[in-house]
Structure formats: structure tokens, C-alpha cells
């Protein structure tokens, strides 16, 4: 067949495209389970990293297995929060934040993961997602059970500039967040701001931005504000419950203290009465003794001033 005839060109291109498409679909189907597993393991790893777990992953024989084990050990529960702050059962792990962001705010599902730490305190992990300079950025924020103090964060990105915006995924940047507060003393919601100008120690609501990564830093700040503020009713509710519990504990403590005080007072009064009784009895006995047998050796001291006075 003539290589330059239209017929040959048509046939050739059809055959080529069909062959290439067949190869690609076979490969994509074969590799899909591996790829999905990778994505799932990575998500679990991010959640664990936000609560400072899964550190030994590099030493582990099988990374995936190590992550699964740690996840099963520490992440003991999860629930989905409505925009009004009510918690409901559901598979928080399956919630796709990208899809949720497209929904109206009132019908969004807000996932929360609960981590039971080694010292039996609870940490709450909130997933966040936003936009950097070139594409999406996302992460996980772990909060202490006061729902204000940040325990740890982890951020990642799709294609931020290496060395600039991409620095948000480094431990050096993320370490700054630990201990920061998302509520001030009022308590008003402040989120955490990403600011220029170095050292932010002693400033509880700010972290240092990345030089040369201004737009990514701003995107990160907006991501935290947007995502965390959606949880505000939930945080308030939890804090109220925590506060009620705290007050209950304080009240109980106070009652206990008062009772102890009362008991102590009672005991003191009893003691005083006993001493008074004893003193009265003793002085009565003394008076009796003086009258009958004169001064006993123990009473010489007491009677001395009287004798001295008499000698003068």
C-alpha cells in the first residue's frame, strides 16, 4: 500500500490510537489498586503526623503496614460534624474535602478524627483544604481537648514552588504551630495568622511566613480561617461542655473543700472544748490539791512568783 495515500494514513492513525488507548487502559486498571492504596496510606500518615505519630516510618520494613498499625492504634474514632455543630456517626475518612467545599456551607460534612494519645488524653484532628499559588494545598490540624490550643499540624501541596511556597510542607514551618491558640482570652475566634517578620514566640495567634512564598502563606492563612471557622459551632459546643464539666469539677472540688473546712472547724471546736474542759478539771483538781497537801513539786515553779512577791 502506498504510505502516503489517505487510506493508509487513516488506517494507520486509527490503529495507532486504538493500540495506545488499549495499552493505557490496561495499565491504568492494573495499577489503580496500588495507587489508591498509596493515597489512602498517605492520608493516614498525614493524620498521624499531625498528632506527632508515625515518626519511625522510615525505619519500618513496610511503610504501608507500619502506617496501618499506628493508625489502628492511635486513631480511635471519628465523626462527622454538621454546620450547626452537632456530631453524627459517619465515615469521616471517606469525606472528600474538595467535594464538600463545592456544597453550600449549611450542608457540608465536617470530618473530625479523634486520637487517643499514649498519656490517655484526646486530640482532635481537623482536615483543612485551600488554595496556594499554583494549586490546592491541604493539611490536618490537631487540637488539644480545649479546642483552642494547637497540638500539631501537617500541610502538603500539589505544586507549590520548591524552596518557596513548598516550604509549608517542611517540619521547620509546621513546628511553629504547636502551642498556638485559635481563640483569644475573650474568647474570640482568631485563627492563626501567617505574618512577616521573624520570631513569633510569645505571640499566640501568629506564625512566621515564608520568604518568597507570600501567596502560598496567604493561602494557608485563609485556608485555616475558612476551614476552622466552619467548625466554630462545634468548637463552642465542645468548649461549653468542657466548661460545664470543668465547672462541675470545680464545684465538686469546692464543695469538698468546704466540707473539709467545716470538718476541720468542727474538729477545732471540739478540741477547744476538750481543752477547756480539761483545763477546768485540772484547775479544780489543783485547787483541791493546794488545799489538802500543800505545794507539789510540779507546782513549785508556779508558786515561786507568789513567794518572791511575799519576800519583797
Amino acid at each position: 500500500m502506498n504510505k502516503d495515500s489517505n487510506q493508509y494514513i487513516y488506517l494507520y492513525s486509527i490503529a495507532l490510537v486504538v493500540a495506545v488507548a488499549a495499552v493505557l487502559s490496561v495499565v491504568a486498571t492494573l495499577l489503580k489498586p496500588f495507587q489508591q492504596k498509596n493515597v489512602e496510606v498517605e492520608k493516614k500518615q498525614s493524620i498521624l503526623l499531625s498528632v506527632h505519630k508515625a515518626a519511625g516510618v522510615k525505619k519500618a520494613k513496610s511503610k504501608a503496614q507500619h502506617i496501618e498499625d499506628e493508625y489502628a492504634k492511635y486513631i480511635t474514632g471519628s465523626y462527622i460534624v454538621s454546620s450547626l455543630g452537632a456530631t453524627q456517626e459517619g465515615d469521616a475518612f471517606a469525606v472528600n474535602l474538595e467535594e464538600e467545599a463545592a456544597k453550600p456551607a449549611a450542608s457540608r460534612k465536617l470530618p473530625v478524627f479523634i486520637c487517643s494519645d499514649d498519656d490517655s488524653t484526646l486530640k482532635y484532628v481537623i482536615p483543612v483544604r485551600g488554595t496556594g499559588l499554583w494549586g490546592p494545598i491541604w493539611g490536618y490540624v490537631a487540637l488539644h481537648d480545649d479546642f483552642s490550643t494547637i497540638y500539631g499540624v501537617v500541610f502538603d501541596h500539589q505544586g507549590e514552588t520548591p524552596g518557596l511556597g513548598a516550604e509549608i510542607s517542611t517540619p521547620e514551618f509546621q513546628r511553629q504551630f504547636a502551642g498556638k491558640q485559635i481563640f483569644d482570652a475573650t474568647p474570640m475566634f482568631t485563627s492563626v495568622k501567617v505574618v512577616k517578620g521573624g520570631n513569633t514566640r510569645g505571640r499566640p495567634h501568629e506564625v512566621d511566613a515564608i520568604s518568597g512564598g507570600t501567596i502560598t502563606s496567604q493561602g494557608l492563612e485563609k485556608m485555616l480561617l475558612d476551614n476552622l471557622s466552619a467548625y466554630l459551632p462545634f468548637f463552642k459546643e465542645q468548649q461549653r461542655m468542657q466548661g460545664a464539666k470543668q465547672r462541675q469539677r470545680e464545684r465538686e472540688k469546692k464543695e469538698k473543700e468546704e466540707e473539709e473546712e467545716r470538718a476541720l472547724l468542727q474538729a477545732k471546736q471540739d478540741e477547744a472544748a476538750r481543752i477547756a474542759r480539761w483545763a477546768a478539771a485540772a484547775s479544780a483538781a489543783q485547787a483541791l490539791q493546794k488545799d489538802t497537801t500543800g505545794a507539789a513539786p510540779a507546782e513549785k515553779e508556779e508558786s515561786k512568783p507568789v513567794e518572791q512577791a511575799e519576800n519583797l
Binding site: 504510505k3 495499565v27 520548591p162 524552596g163
Partner: protein, 215 residues
């Protein structure tokens, strides 16, 4: 037809020439965009070099096998289809078995398609030569490209971040923030400095090897 040994002098020359005298980046000035984009740090630069080498080598090989059947009028499109196939395969395999590397390269894997070196070598070499020399030529050019990437990214990571392959080289006590006298050069991280560095490499090579472009 006489049989040529796999590593004949001629074939070895195909492998070594692109490393020096006919380097695709410095002499042919191809593939510059990606050389600017992925050279901020050493690690992604090396991963990118490996990925590009694999794509050039395998697609040159396939194109060389197909070369007698391809209709001349649609040969560029056929090249594109084959190169895209290879790029998607590399991307998929990385995602399945080297997820961390694939995350680092992110969008740049997809952009291998637009790397002029790939199409350039297919058009200039693979379409006129046998599969084995084409494969070697592809590997040689991939390595020549990778060499420049590594050179540029070493400079940029060292001067821009004070690290190499993620490990700290310049001690953190040298920095002004910690009471020292040194500060990272912010300009090196940005693309213009990559272009300047590349220009310096091209200048050095050309002044040493008597203008290979005119040869």
C-alpha cells in the same frame, strides 16, 4: 548486512557525545524551560533526569522500530502520541510504586511531553537509525540533560537553601538569625538565577571547546 557489536565505538560515542560536545541543553539549547523549573532542589532534579532519560530512550526505541511504517505527513502527530503514551506510563508507574517521587515531580512529569529534547532526538535521530543506536542516543541525551540539571540544582540548593539533597551543608549557626554573618541568597531560588547559571555553564563550555555550535 554486517552485524555490529552492541557497544561498538560508534555506539559508545552516541552515549558520550551528548554529555559534552553535543549536550542537548548547553549546545543545542533544548529543554531549557524544565531545566529552570525543577532545579531549585537537587532531589527533584535527579528524579526528573531519570524520568526524562527513560522517556527519551524508550520512545526513541519505539519510534525507530516503527520508522519504516509511519506516513511522513502525520509523523509529528505519531511522535506525540508515542511520547505521551510513555509519559503517562511513567507517571502511572511512579504513582503506583514510587508515590513520594511522583509527588515531588507533580506537574513536571506531565510536562516531559513538551520537552523539546524528546521530540528533537526522535525527529533528528530515531527516525533515521536502527532501534539499538536510537535507544543509546536517547539514554545519552537524557543523561546529558540530567547532568546540567544536577549542576544547576547543586548551585541553587546550596546557595539558596544551604542544603544538599535535603541535608544541611552550611551550619545553621552561620546564619544572621542565629547570630552568624551568612544569609541564604533569595534570588538563587527564583527562575531568573537559574537562567543566569545556565548561561554561565554554556559560556564556560563554549569558550573551552571552540564553538561547537558552528562545527
Amino acid at each position: 548486512m554486517e552485524k555490529e557489536p552492541f557497544f561498538s565505538a560508534k555506539n559508545l560515542k552516541l552515549l558520550t557525545e551528548p554529555l559534552g560536545r553535543s549536550n542537548p541543553v548547553t549546545v543545542l539549547v533544548l529543554g531549557v524551560c524544565s531545566a529552570l523549573a525543577v532545579t531549585v532542589k537537587l532531589e527533584p532534579a535527579v528524579a526528573m533526569a531519570v524520568a526524562v532519560t527513560a522517556v527519551i530512550a524508550v520512545s526513541s526505541f519505539i519510534m525507530s522500530l516503527l520508522r519504516s511504517t509511519i506516513p511522513n505527513r502525520i509523523r509529528i502527530i505519531v511522535q506525540l502520541v508515542i511520547v505521551s503514551l510513555m509519559v503517562i506510563l511513567v507517571d502511572q508507574v511512579l504513582r503506583a510504586f514510587a508515590y513520594d517521587v511522583s509527588k515531588q515531580l507533580s506537574v513536571f512529569v506531565g510536562l516531559i511531553i513538551t520537552n523539546c529534547i524528546v521530540m528533537g532526538r526522535i525527529e533528528a535521530f530515531a527516525l533515521g537509525n536502527k532501534p539499538w543506536p536510537s535507544l543509546i542516543d536517547g539514554i545519552g541525551n537524557g543523561l546529558g540533560y540530567g547532568m546540567i540539571l544536577v549542576a544547576v540544582s547543586c548551585c541553587r540548593e546550596l546557595l539558596g537553601s544551604g542544603t544538599l539533597w535535603g541535608y544541611r551543608v552550611i551550619p545553621s549557626s552561620f546564619y544572621i538569625a542565629n547570630g552568624g554573618v551568612y544569609e541564604n541568597n533569595g534570588l538563587v531560588i527564583l527562575p531568573p538565577m537559574a537562567l543566569i547559571l545556565l548561561g554561565i555553564i554554556i559560556w564556560v563550555q563554549r569558550s573551552r571547546s571552540k564553538n561547537p555550535a558552528k562545527r
